[in-house]
Symmetry: C2
Subunit: 339 residues, 2 copies
């Protein structure tokens, strides 16, 4: 797609407005949505990802989902100015290459951007999904209007995103906001990354799972035995049910994880001093009503410069906010404006 094609497109539409497509590429599903420049969704579509079918099949499924979303909005692809994709793993924003994505059946160096550009005929912007989600929250979600936002997304791991002065902060090597691997307990539990004491090794769903399994192996009684599979795995939804049933072990382990997240959040705020913090991710979506008050309490206690909570809100991104999809679309929109 040359610049000429793009400008001819724009001529069909109101000058100064732009319409982008956002895609949330997850390990299990693909969500696509047409988004206007205010962050409103005009049409959506959804498909299973099926990463086990290989790279080519997934890229074709992304393209089909994109066309479906455009149709759902009553539009055609040539009215779309750009496409933004929030993808799991390490994405190189400049080249559109997914360097590494364990959740997509271990994609390595997949040129997702260039290949989709061939299929859709539109500029493609590829971004890490948590970066996109934080930008979505800051431009059209719970943190709309806030200029500097720390985004923390605990799930199987812990993802992070950082918006400073209204823009996504990617850092010097496109490696910023790797909050999950900040050490908060030197020489603490082993992390999936091979180091010790990362917040991800203390407060992700995987860490909670490990701690519960350890206690059960030690003979502790808990309803959790009924919710864990043969490999000791337990979903965020199951944790939420067990919290509702006031299971003592689960309450203790998840409560401790939440306290650790709060102390870690304070460390980040002490360093960056953002206008607000946004929490999201699978663990928070399931267990937020129990965890968020503990996270907030520990955060405010561990700030070196005390603030009134209203001056540093700690938001919970809502389920159904489509923050990744909207954020990816808004990033594509912003990229059009700053070439």
């Amino acid at each position: 797609m040359g610049k000429k094609d793009k400008s001819s497109k724009k001529n069909k539409r109101n000058p100064g407005t732009s319409m982008t497509l956002g895609i949330d590429l997850g390990g299990t599903k693909i969500l696509a949505g047409v988004v206007d420049e205010h962050g409103h969704i005009l049409g959506t579509a959804k498909r299973k990802t099926r990463p086990e079918r290989g790279v080519d099949a997934v890229i074709e499924r992304i393209a089909s989902t994109a066309f479906d979303a455009v149709e759902d909005a009553g539009l055609s692809m040539d009215l779309i100015d750009a496409v933004g994709i929030g993808a799991p793993g390490v994405a190189d924003y400049n080249t559109g290459v997914i360097e590494f994505a364990p959740n997509l059946a271990n994609w390595v160096n997949v040129p997702l951007g260039p290949r989709l550009q061939n299929l859709l005929g539109t500029p493609i912007y590829v971004e890490n999904d948590v970066n996109a989600g934080t930008f979505g929250a800051a431009t059209a979600g719970v943190a709309k209007g806030f200029r500097s936002v720390v985004g923390i997304f605990p799930g199987t791991g812990i993802g992070g995103g950082l918006v400073l002065d209204g823009q996504l902060w990617r850092g010097a090597r496109n490696a910023a906001a790797e909050f999950g691997h900040m050490v908060v307990l030197i020489d603490g539990p082993l992390c999936g990354c091979g180091r010790r004491g990362c917040i991800e090794a203390l407060a992700s769903r995987s860490a909670i799972e490990r701690d519960i399994a350890g206690e059960l192996r030690g003979g502790r009684q808990s309803l959790a035995t009924e919710y864990t599979d043969s490999e000791g795995r337990i979903t965020s939804g199951a944790l939420a049910e067990l919290l509702d049933k006031k299971d003592a072990l689960v309450t203790e382990v998840v409560g401790r994880a939440a306290r650790h997240l709060g102390i870690f959040t304070a460390a980040l705020v002490n360093a960056i001093d953002p206008e607000c913090v946004v929490y999201g991710g699978g663990l928070i979506e399931a267990c937020g009503s129990f965890m968020m008050p503990i996270i907030r309490g520990a955060t405010y206690r561990y700030l070196i410069r005390p603030v009134e909570p209203e001056n540093l809100p700690i938001f919970e991104a809502m389920l159904g906010d489509n923050v990744v999809l909207v954020g990816a679309a808004m990033l594509a929109n912003a990229s059009l404006k700053t070439p």
Copy 2:
């Protein structure tokens, strides 16, 4: 000073150039220097601070030192466009008020900026000393030319400064870069701030002093007994001597502190992904040749995205760099350009 006065000053000088005065206000000494817009020092002066004589006396001493520096440069005060001050403690950049400075005999809410403006007849910009030092390193010191810089200054405490996109990042509430109170060992040693496990409680000179005193009380043999005063205090210079003598206890304790600083540095880099890191402060100035290799080693090992050291240099600010003085002057210069 009205705007009229300032513009009349400027008419005497080359248009487009500016000359500022930087002041490093410490607990023991005041350094002042005239600095051109490239960060070169044209003249300096120095006085003891003598904070025990009270606020009025200190402010007069600052003014005298400023006039001396201008004279040393062969200039007069009406050729100085603005004055920047790097002050210890919490400084409100917008009002010029020092909110709290334990090292200045506990100054509380001292309107340093407005009062000096009356004495010097020049716009005054007051900034935290470590912020000024980091900006000095980034604009005219070891990190000159780097656009995003994390500054870490271990001494009695641990100060921090953050430059992003070439500008000092002060955060939403003027509270950014409080790196010393990021928790790296949850529920670890008690910190001076009343919380536990802050990096300052693990790797400052005070923490090293505490750990050495504890071991000595426990009966461990060390040359450190000859270097500690009756209250168990030990200077950074004494630590350096003991390291030179290969004292086992001091080597162990300072080495551990350095490793902790490295793990903490990696946490900061994982979050912010700066172009470089600058270390300075009394502990590093004295013990840097021993500590910096350990700090660098631990930092690179704990980065979640490995980089070649040349792509993320970890600099040691040199003694005699006058980074706070130059940084304060450069901040005043930058403030003139962005009113």
